[in-house]
């Protein structure tokens, strides 16, 4: 089991670090982080707040983009290019394939986001700005959020085309971020059917708003450890459910 997972993690990671597109995304992210410095300069007396806010927000956006790209692209490419035939005919279970791929993406995402975060911390240090625990907590929550999104993208790509999977993943992110608003409108909605639909959507969707701590990051406010823990558990539980669904779909699927 471990050897199989190791094979997938190593292969996914090697593919990712040799992928020119990801290098492009990385350079773009660094450029954006540098741009946050410019924005900071333009905002009088609020430089640190703006740089922290813009910097972490861009890391989050990059996390979302990379998660969708990796989650959708990896499986879809394997199915499209028929590489999957040689993999699934080997003595592995299909859930191992999904789990291995996910762990590979998780490792890759961690390295990519950590690299961006390190650049961001470097910028703060250069500008003699404070580095506090809130930033690290925010980084962790962004990472967990990225895992949830990549698991969703992975699950969508097991049964739909790359384009459809990307659209569904993007919709998943938007609705997940609007989770509190969905609840808010569900309570006020008078049409029973629409209210029920909204509640059902709330039941299915993850609350990605839990992972958004931009206010605390901007004002360097403490984030309670319990919030980080419960948000992480919520995210990990959601990942497990999504991977189980993806495994069931893979198990039942014919590879024509």
């Amino acid at each position: 089991m471990w050897l199989t997972l190791n094979a997938f993690i190593t292969q996914t990671f090697r593919e990712a670090i040799r992928n020119k597109i990801l290098y492009g995304i990385g350079f773009f992210a660094i450029a954006i982080l540098l741009f946050s410095l410019v924005l900071g300069e333009l905002s009088l007396y609020e430089q640190e707040r703006v740089i922290r806010d813009v910097g972490m927000t861009f890391i989050m956006i990059m996390g979302i983009a990379l998660s969708i790209y990796a989650g959708v692209g990896l499986i879809h490419r394997e199915i499209d290019r028929r590489i999957i035939y040689t993999i699934l005919s080997k003595p592995i279970r299909r859930y191992q394939f999904i789990l291995g791929r996910f762990l590979g993406i998780a490792c890759t995402l961690f390295v990519e986001l950590a690299a961006m975060f390190a650049v961001f911390l470097g910028l703060l240090l250069v500008r003699s700005m404070s580095i506090d625990a809130t930033l690290f907590q925010a980084f962790w929550l962004i990472y967990v959020e990225s895992l949830v999104i990549s698991a969703a993208a992975l699950m969508f790509s097991t049964f739909s085309s790359a384009m459809l999977s990307s659209l569904m993943s993007a919709g998943f992110v938007v609705l997940g971020l609007l989770y509190p608003q969905i609840g808010f409108y569900a309570e006020r909605e008078k049409t029973i059917e629409i209210a029920a639909f909204m509640r059902a959507a709330q039941f299915i969707l993850p609350n990605l708003d839990h992972f958004d701590v931009s206010t605390q990051v901007s004002y360097a406010l403490d984030i309670p450890a319990s919030h980080v823990m419960w948000s992480s558990l919520h995210g990990i539980a959601y990942v497990i459910v999504l991977l189980c669904i993806a495994s069931i779909i893979m198990e039942k699927r014919d590879f024509i």
């Binding site: 050897l3 199989t4 190791n6 094979a7 190593t10 292969q11 090697r14 593919e15 040799r18 992928n19 290019r81 028929r82 590489i83 035939y85 040689t86 993999i87 699934l88 005919s89 080997k90 003595p91 592995i92 279970r93 014919d254 590879f255 024509i256």
Partner: protein, 365 residues
Amino acid sequence: MPDGTIRHPLLAYRIAIRPKNILCRLHKTAAHPISSKAHTAIPAVTTRHQITNMSDAIIELKDLSKTFYVGFRRKKIEAVKSVSFEVKRGEIFGLIGPNGAGKTTTIKMLTGLIKPTSGTMKLMGYEGFDRRCSQKLGYLPEISYYYESLTAFEILDFYAKLYGIQADRKARVDKWLERVGMSHARDKRLGSFSKGMLQRIGLAQALIGDPELVVLDEPQSGLDPIGRRDVAEIIRESQQQGKTIFFSSHILPDVERLCDRVGVIRQGRMEVVGTLHELLSAEKYVEIVLRGDPSQDFIGTLSENPEITLQTNDLTTAITLSPKAAGDLNDILSKAIAEGLIIEHVMEHGADLESLFTKAEKKSD
């Protein structure tokens, strides 16, 4: 032909003649692709003999069918219809058929990539596709693409890990790179490989787990003649190591040269299955052309045999023997010599897979 014996490597067919008395020209039909392989094919004949002693089937398919429902309207496509056949342990089995005949679907059912709609499948003694089978299974898909950013070594190492190979993994990867002639490209990325090089890597990934059953879908497609020869060599070697090879191909001469048994599939149905001898011997016939004036008695005797047809003119007599009358050849030639007739030629019209394949197609139409 110093001993005056004509041997056909696949049909195991002999014609004993007397060179001193007979002017004899032996013709093989021009379309016969195996005739030039008479001597090189001898090891394969030996292996065939060994196979006849092995009776256990490694693949048993009974009434296996697969129906797909595609598109919005769920259009029904019956890709494979009630296919039944067996593959014996240690043999090379070739599956041939035109595009869309159901070869790849059959292969995908064997490798667990597609679940059959109905019928039964027994693989290596396990009912249905059991995950334990895949430990002993090597598979090369029809079109091989791999991770372009990985090197030849890395990709084989990846597949070796999937087989659970731990101890001598790196040595085994290097061994297989060498075996498929890719040692020179060990550390080159697959993105720069030609189709033939990728096919060799594909073959190595199929064999790296030391499988009992090797399923190859069009293993020689896209290869140059040297590549095809190398693949054929690896297939033969694998058989000599006791592996069973099941492969599909469009390259009929290769199938004919390599396979012990063949199945012809068309429109999802298995048209014929059997050894090449069984399939081809039903199609062959021998033609004798005699010069001179035969006696009425000689003509009369031959005319009585329904398996023999005669055509005579002033100068020659053409005698055609069906496979059932092939045993009479020596008698006929002896009588002709006794009559003082000159044997112009003895021509064996051996069928080949191509004609069998074409016949199966016509039959289906």
